[in-house]
């Protein structure tokens, strides 16, 4: 009964979605206020319908209703409750439904928080979101129905992929999807602007908080995914330039560019056409990111099992959304005229440079990711593009971006004095150069540059902040007051930039990592990067739905016991799958990392790593996302806030 209710609610969602797409868009076209007024209610209704559908699926999973095919294939009665819930989005059908749920949530959010928008713009934004929602809900309903029944029901389910039974991964899809799908809102704003044929500074101000929110989630989602790959897959690395990873990096790169170019629209009414194109491009990358990998078109080592029959529907849908929006862009973009002009050396100029470099990086990543596909289709050659390609192309483009990042926020709008900005940064440059020289003796060219860049960005952010609060030039208390008075947007920028610096330092330090693969018998010691790893014991352990083999390793430095690592190999009997459980001990500056491989002749094959600054990679991403949230709290970005401020100043 419950699954049928979910199925019905999903169908209801599609019907409401059709109404949400047609009624407000028609109303905005005709200028009919009554039709436009229907938009928020329809968006909330669609969210409610798809929400009920999702809750029904989650409920069926929690009560282990194995008469539902999806649950019989991906769940098991022995599974802990948390994985029964998170397993709802841990498989193909459930994740598509979850994707639809977030899209309708975006529509509902615009309906709830968009009261300050002009009614025709709001109607069009909600209508476009409804149109996109209908496409993907139809896909869920027709091609990947999560509520298909199975008769007779099996006694027990086939269990969830053990690799996904992990608290980190449980939270990864919701955050990442919210990031991906969140870019649907700037996309809808861009399409609405094209339909209206008008973009002004207000449009830039409305679009920025949505972009910022999506960007925060995407940053967090990518970091969480990379962290999961680091500790759960046990490969010892954090980024493998795999198509799945690249697919999430692409919308992040263009989304970051969008964040900066929307600022130019807001402040200076320039770069309008470009910003619209970026909004379309970012959502297109989000869509292809989620679906190209799933449809089996791109070959990935950590994709779900996929079904090529579904690929056709998805491809058609992608073609319709991306092609349709680009066509609309080609037809309507000339209507939008640029007004603001600026000198090349100015804040706008720096933001343009940021956009050029970010989009160049996105272009090479897209080329490397898609080239195997085209080589196969056009040249009939089967090949893969490996990490060396991405390392050799991305980092040289990233270095000038990092170099410009510290200076950009110090430039003034319209026309700036580069020399003056640089003189404020002399001490940051000096320290960065010193760190670079210090590292040059220990690392290769690229890591050395990266370390210098990391220092330059972090110190540049500090210098910018110091300059704004006039640190050491006015009494400290006055500086403190100035700090409190700073706009949250400025503060957020500084925090996010510094966060990127921290991440870069973590990535650069990967070149200093030591690792070794050794065969140890109990009692034997391996020396890795100045640390002594001693295997003391090998034993068995049993978990709720798996059996584990555990290696106990004492780690010593200069004879002092630092920690005991107990990496495991877990065998899941239901799925006949073995997974490795890496164990990591961190002190914030370095990770001690151990993985248990196979056993032979009474000994264990171990992979041991000493990774310097590894936690900084994710810590930096967290700081970046936090910077985004601080910026999101800016008065100026909260819808309706400017009106309130005006209301307060008038009586004064």
């Amino acid at each position: 009964m419950i699954p049928e209710l979910g199925h019905f609610a999903l169908a209801l969602g599609v019907a409401l979605g059709f109404a949400q797409a047609i009624v407000p868009l028609w109303g905005a076209h005709r200028g009919d206020a009554r039709l436009m007024q229907a938009a928020p209610a329809l968006a909330l209704g669609q969210f409610l319908a798809v929400g009920i559908s999702f809750v029904c699926l989650a409920w069926s999973s929690v009560v282990s209703d194995f008469s539902v095919l999806n649950i019989a294939e991906n769940s098991n009665s022995l599974e802990p409750l948390i994985y029964k819930i998170t397993g709802t989005w841990g498989n193909h059908e459930g994740s598509i439904l979850f994707w639809c749920l977030i899209l309708t949530m975006c529509g509902a959010a615009v309906a709830a928080f968009g009261a300050g928008l002009p009614s025709s713009l709001r109607a069009r934004v909600i209508g476009v979101l409804g149109l996109a929602g209908v496409g993907f809900q139809l896909f869920a309903l027709l091609e990947s129905d999560p509520f298909v029944r199975l008769w007779p029901p099996p006694v027990d389910g086939r269990d969830m992929n053990p690799l996904l039974q992990d608290p980190g991964l449980a939270m990864h899809p919701p955050i990442l999807y919210t990031g991906y799908v969140g870019f649907a809102v700037p996309f809808a704003f861009a399409i609405a602007a094209l339909l209206e044929g008008r973009i002004d500074a207000a449009w830039g101000r409305w679009v920025r908080p949505w972009t910022l929110a999506a960007w925060c989630f995407l940053t967090g989602g990518i970091a969480l995914g990379s962290w999961w790959a680091y500790y759960e897959l046990g490969w010892g690395g954090f980024w493998f330039w795999d198509p799945v990873e690249n697919a999430s990096l692409l919308p992040w790169l263009t989304g970051t560019a969008l964040l900066h170019s929307a600022l130019v629209v807001e402040k200076r009414e320039a770069l309008k056409v470009w910003t619209v194109l970026l909004a379309i491009g970012t959502f297109s990358f989000s869509l292809s990111g989620t679906f190209l990998v799933r449809s089996g078109i791109l070959n990935s080592v950590h994709a779900f099992a996929n079904d090529p029959a579904r690929g056709v529907f998805i491809l058609a849908l992608l073609g319709l959304v991306i092609g349709g929006s680009l066509l609309l862009f080609a037809l309507r973009a000339p209507v939008l005229s640029a007004t603001g002009i600026f000198a090349p050396v100015s804040r706008e100029g720096a933001l343009v440079l940021n956009n050029i470099l970010l989009c160049s990086i996105a272009a090479v990543v897209a080329t490397g990711t898609m080239y195997p596909l085209f080589a196969d289709l056009l040249l009939g050659e089967k090949l893969s593009v490996g990490a060396p390609f991405f390392n050799a192309t991305v980092f040289p483009l990233a270095v000038p971006l990092f170099a410009a990042m510290a200076v950009g926020p110090m430039l003034s709008w319209k026309r700036a004095d580069l020399g003056a900005a640089l003189t404020k940064l002399w001490w940051a440059a000096l320290i960065a150069a010193a760190i670079g020289l210090f590292m040059a003796t220990r690392a290769a060219l690229l890591p050395t540059l990266a370390f210098a860049c990391a220092a330059w960005i972090i110190l540049g952010a500090a210098a910018d902040l110091g300059e704004r609060v006039r640190l050491f030039r006015v009494p400290l208390s006055a500086s403190g007051r100035r700090l409190l008075g700073l706009s949250r947007g400025t503060l957020g920028t500084t925090i996010a930039h510094a966060g990127l610096g921290v991440t870069i330092a973590g990535i650069a330090a990967a070149s200093l990592a030591h690792s070794s693969i050794v065969l140890l018998h109990p009692g034997q010691v391996a020396h890795v990067g100045g640390y002594d790893f001693q295997l003391t014991d090998l034993h068995d352990r049993s978990g709720p739905n798996y059996a584990a083999r555990v290696a106990v390793i004492d780690v010593r430095h200069d004879g002092r016991l630092l920690t005991v690592l107990a990496p495991e190999r877990r065998t899941f009997p239901v799925q006949q799958i073995t997974t490795t459980e890496a164990k990591i001990s961190t002190n914030g500056l370095r990770d001690l990392y151990a993985v248990l491989g196979e056993e032979r002749d009474g000994g264990a094959v171990l992979r041991l790593h000493v990774n310097w600054l590894a936690p900084w990679i994710w810590f930096g991403a967290l700081i970046m996302a936090a910077g985004g949230l601080v910026s999101l709290a800016d008065r100026r970005l909260r819808v309706g806030a400017p009106a309130r401020r005006r209301a307060r100043t008038v009586p004064a």
Partner: protein, 167 residues
């Protein structure tokens, strides 16, 4: 500066960005593109030693030997597409899903003696999924014609006859 000059400057800057990206891309491409090969292709026309390759196929039953190379744990095994087999040497930990008779993709180079030195071994399978490279190798060797239905079940791969060749 006039408006026209400014626009020219902007276009030039964009051009420089794209040109750098293209240049870097092209120069990095030839070194880091790994071509996919099947064991039969290696036997027919051996690629130059040192060229990065992706070798796809099935791990021949009974061919896995665990050894030590320079005191480090290593493994040798044969990768077959049912027609020919290539010996692969790999120093490191084999992935969890690595099994005899199952699909595997090895990234590495061909040594002078005709054996394959893998730097990375990827294995992935379940009842419904076969790595694309492995499926392609099976199709090329004539062991599986997609028009005739689904790929042969994993159980039959184990007993697949192997004619030793290429090392």
């Amino acid at each position: 500066m006039t408006r026209k000059r400014r626009r020219l400057l902007l276009v030039l800057a964009c051009g420089a960005g794209v040109a750098t990206a293209t240049g870097l891309g092209l120069s990095a491409f030839s070194d880091s593109v790994a071509f996919f090969v099947s064991p039969t292709e290696i036997a027919a026309k051996a690629p130059a030693p040192g060229r990065m390759l992706r070798l796809g196929g099935l791990v021949a039953a009974g061919s896995v030997h665990k050894t030590l190379i320079d005191g480090r744990p290593a493994a040798t095994f044969s990768v077959t597409d049912g027609k020919t087999a290539v010996t692969v040497r790999y120093v490191g930990i084999l992935p969890d899903l690595f099994r005899e008779g199952q699909g595997v993709v090895a990234m590495g180079t061909l040594a002078a003696d005709g054996s394959f030195r893998a730097q990375e071994v990827l294995a992935k399978h379940d009842e419904t999924y076969m790595p694309k490279d492995v499926a392609d190798a099976l199709k090329k060797s004539g062991h599986w014609n997609p028009a005739e239905g689904p790929p042969p079940p994993a159980a039959t791969w184990d007993t697949m006859a192997v004619k030793q060749a290429g090392g």
